[in-house]
């Protein structure tokens, strides 16, 4: 067992992990942060996306030991300080960008990473960026809308529906 220490959602945490413990397991099982979901075993679905030192990372693809000393942010840390939904979360609710909710944490975390790098993405840029996040419920239409709305772009003008 190895002791790891990291900052998760602004709070210092530590724990003893095996060498094989994934960051997703450490967050879910040791820290009880079950908002980070595991939907596949092959780094394909993106339900487990978190931010490690500001970069979007699939937490099922990183060892907990590799995140030692890092600053990790998860879906549980995304709301505003007063508990209200942040801009991206609110846009997902306003535009019905989620149904069963299982892929949603990864979608929100990926969206946040996208908008940090590209504050006004085109529809195609949003779709391309989400290539690593699978949603089975929404057909992506409303997720794309939500992300563009969160970026301050005029969404209703985009397409008939």
């Amino acid at each position: 067992m190895t002791k790891v220490t990291m900052t998760v959602n602004g709070k210092a945490v530590s724990g003893d992990v095996e060498g094989r413990t994934l960051l997703s397991s450490f967050l879910r099982e040791d820290q009880g942060l079950t908002g980070t979901h595991v939907g596949c075993d092959t780094s394909q679905c993106g339900a487990c996306v978190v931010h490690v030192d500001g970069a979007a990372v699939k937490a099922c693809t990183m060892l907990a030991a590799e995140a030692d000393g890092a600053e990790v942010n998860t879906i549980e840390g995304q709301a505003n300080a007063d508990g209200s939904l942040n801009v991206i979360q609110q846009a997902f609710q306003d535009h019905h960008g989620l149904q069963c909710g299982f892929c949603t944490p990864g979608m929100v975390m990926s969206a946040a990473a996208l908008l940090k790098d590209n504050p006004k993405p085109s529809e195609q840029e949003v779709r391309d960026y989400l290539e690593g996040n699978i949603c089975r419920c929404t057909g992506y239409h409303n997720i794309v809308k939500a992300i563009m709305a969160a970026s301050g772009q005029d969404v209703p003008a985009m397409a008939a529906e």
Binding site: E18, R20, R28, G32, L33, T34, G35, T36, H37, V38, G39, C40, D41, T42, Q44, C45, A47, T74, I75, E76, Q78, A79, L85, Q89, F92, Q93, D94, H96, L98, Q99, C100, G101, F102, C103, T104, P105, V108, E123, Q124, V126, R127, D128, L130, E131, N133, I134, C135, R136, C137, T138, G139, Y140, H141, N142, I143, V144, M158, A159, A160, E161
Partner: protein, 790 residues
Amino acid sequence: MPKDTGIGASTVRREDVRFLTGTGEYTDDIVLAKQTYAVFARSTVAHGTIKSIDTSAAEAMPGVLAVFTGEDFVEVGGNPAGWLINSRDGEPMKEPKRPVLAHGKVRHVGDAYAAVIAETIEQARDAVEAIEADIDELPAVVDMNDALSGSNFVHDEIETNQCFDWGWIEDNREATDNAIKNAHHVTTLELVNNRLVPNAMEPRASIGSYKASTGEYTLHTTSQNPHLTRLLISAFVLGIPENMLTVIAPDVGGGFGSKIYHYGEEALVLAAAKKLGRPVKWTADRTESFLTDAHGRDHVTKIELALDAEGNFLAFRTDTKANVGAYLSNFSTATPTFLHGTLMAGNYTVPLVYVNVKAVFTNTAPVDAYRGAGRPEATYSLERVIDKAARELGMDPIELRRKNFIKPDQYPYASAAGLEYDAGNYDALMDKMEEVADVAGFEARRQASEAKGLLRGFGVNAYIEACGIAPSNLVGVLGSRVGLYDAATVRVNATGNLSVMVGAHSHGQGHETAFPQVVAEMLGIDPAVIDIVHGDTSKIPFGMGTYGSRSLAVCGSAVVRATEKIINKAKKIAGHMLEASEHDITLSDGVFSVDGTDKSVTFGEVALKAYIPHEYPLEDIEPGLEETAFYDPANFTYPSGAYACEVEVDPDTGKVRVDRMTAVDDFGNVINPMIVTGQVHGGLAQGIGQALVENTSYDENGQLLSASYMDYTMPRADDMPMFAVDHSQGTLCTHNPLGVKGCGEAGAIGSPPTVVNAVIDALQSGGRNVTHIDMPVTPARVWDAMQNAK
């Protein structure tokens, strides 16, 4: 204009807040005290005889608490088929036992033959590797023709691989044959409805727990219908008294059919929990999901359409082989028969329909209902052969459909496939589709595509489906072994807020938002004071759950009936409070008033009086304000639609891109347009996925080649266009109180033939006489078809 909160309002979903903040509670998120972990040993061969299983090394591994094999479940029951189908000769279908763990033989890759319970999941995984299973591999039965002609049986005891040979409607067989023999024109099409994996993003998971002091079991599980799961486990599999088993389906991350069914893992964790006296948790990994979730579709079909010289449809004749896999999943026998054959008249006034379905056992994962369940297969066959007929006859595909549509003045309409359609207007849907899809502008878009070196095609489709499953009396006659009502309890609390307990389960459909809109509208109160409770058999009335686009049409109707009972009783209480007859009381905007006076009491005051019944006529009215209703529909509901698709095909690579997708649906009354539109979007993506990218591929040895997201292509954001969705042309369902029809499956039913029709149109426009390509229409298949048609 839709109102802000009631019926017709696009109210944003209250459940979103927990999902967006990571505070949803899915089964794998739940941690019970002293929880242990189960991992299954699964067959790596498709077919084999179990000679011996040595678990001694596994039992000696660190942390291992118990090891189970099929031997441990020989004395308990099997997982049953929920629907009896009789063959054409009157013989009942073959129903081989489906055990909790394989015993004697393994019958598909992934078939579980043992399970290890350990302190940690890692220890359980390590110990499974130490199980010594001596399994003699047998030749695998994979191809359905081989299965029917050979003597290599998936289930030796039934001495055949044919589950049943079903005819519908058998009395029409000869007349249909004659109509086809004598017709002016017959169009024939052979096609494959490709096998799909539902792929809910949350893998299946179950936690069994047991309280020795009372004998009570609890199962947390990923289910679309917790009461049905409890019934199956209690009545057929483990024999646990129903009142000693609580089944809880908490937040569930999508289902699409795959979480309707009871699976052996649920029985195992319950049995193990009793043996160990500790909770036992199992969570599938994604490959386990691919190997063991019930798959969908997998039909091989020949369809013939007979027409007269004017293009009138005279008969449809369908010959289908339906793969049911290695075992009968709970509704696997209903899906290719009564959910498929009865829809084979489509939207049309065709006088004769005959469908023959042979269900076939193979050494593959069980196949059952997946989003649409039989109706996508029916629609695909019909709408592809109609398109082919239009091309053969030189007719416009829209006009040929219109010519044969049932007209609005013909309802109720008895279809040639045995259903009575209650309402619809298919021409209005087609008109709207032509407007929304801008059919008039297609030629200009085609020229623009051609200028880029791309072929553009236009595809159209009309569909009807049977939803709101189902009238129990009718399905009982047809072989269903369950009733298909649903139930709701409306509990008004003393302080005036409400809990509504519903039998339907929400795993993405937004019931927690939409059902309160209905109740709030009826009572004239704020939906924010209404809370929906679902998914826990200890809290909700006995309902049959969510599938077949039934939640609103069936459970929503139960909610209406229970709310009506509340209103009736509340009027009595209000009448007493206001010293007036209940018949003179009117409820409006949450206030009960005496007609023609200014006397009134609020809904909240009546609620308080019901629970603090001072000065209360106990001889006439019981205290309390809580009512339950069970609702069993009189008929199916019949959503219908007209869809259009435009694709661009790259003639150099065969790559197909969906450029425009239009869905115009008649769902009847719409409670929350935002949610309904979202349901259509999701269905469209699954249908486009089936048409273009998704395929479940077994090799000749029964190995699943597409058992991960590296190998099975899921539709991604960059595969999809923005969708155009319209539901302005609704005709009301005539037999349920809300006039609703159901919207969950429509997109997946209507889109696959639309996309394929568009691809064929594109290739034809490029001068290639390609008449059919099987789904998924991959670049390789398109390119091959183009080369062969040169």
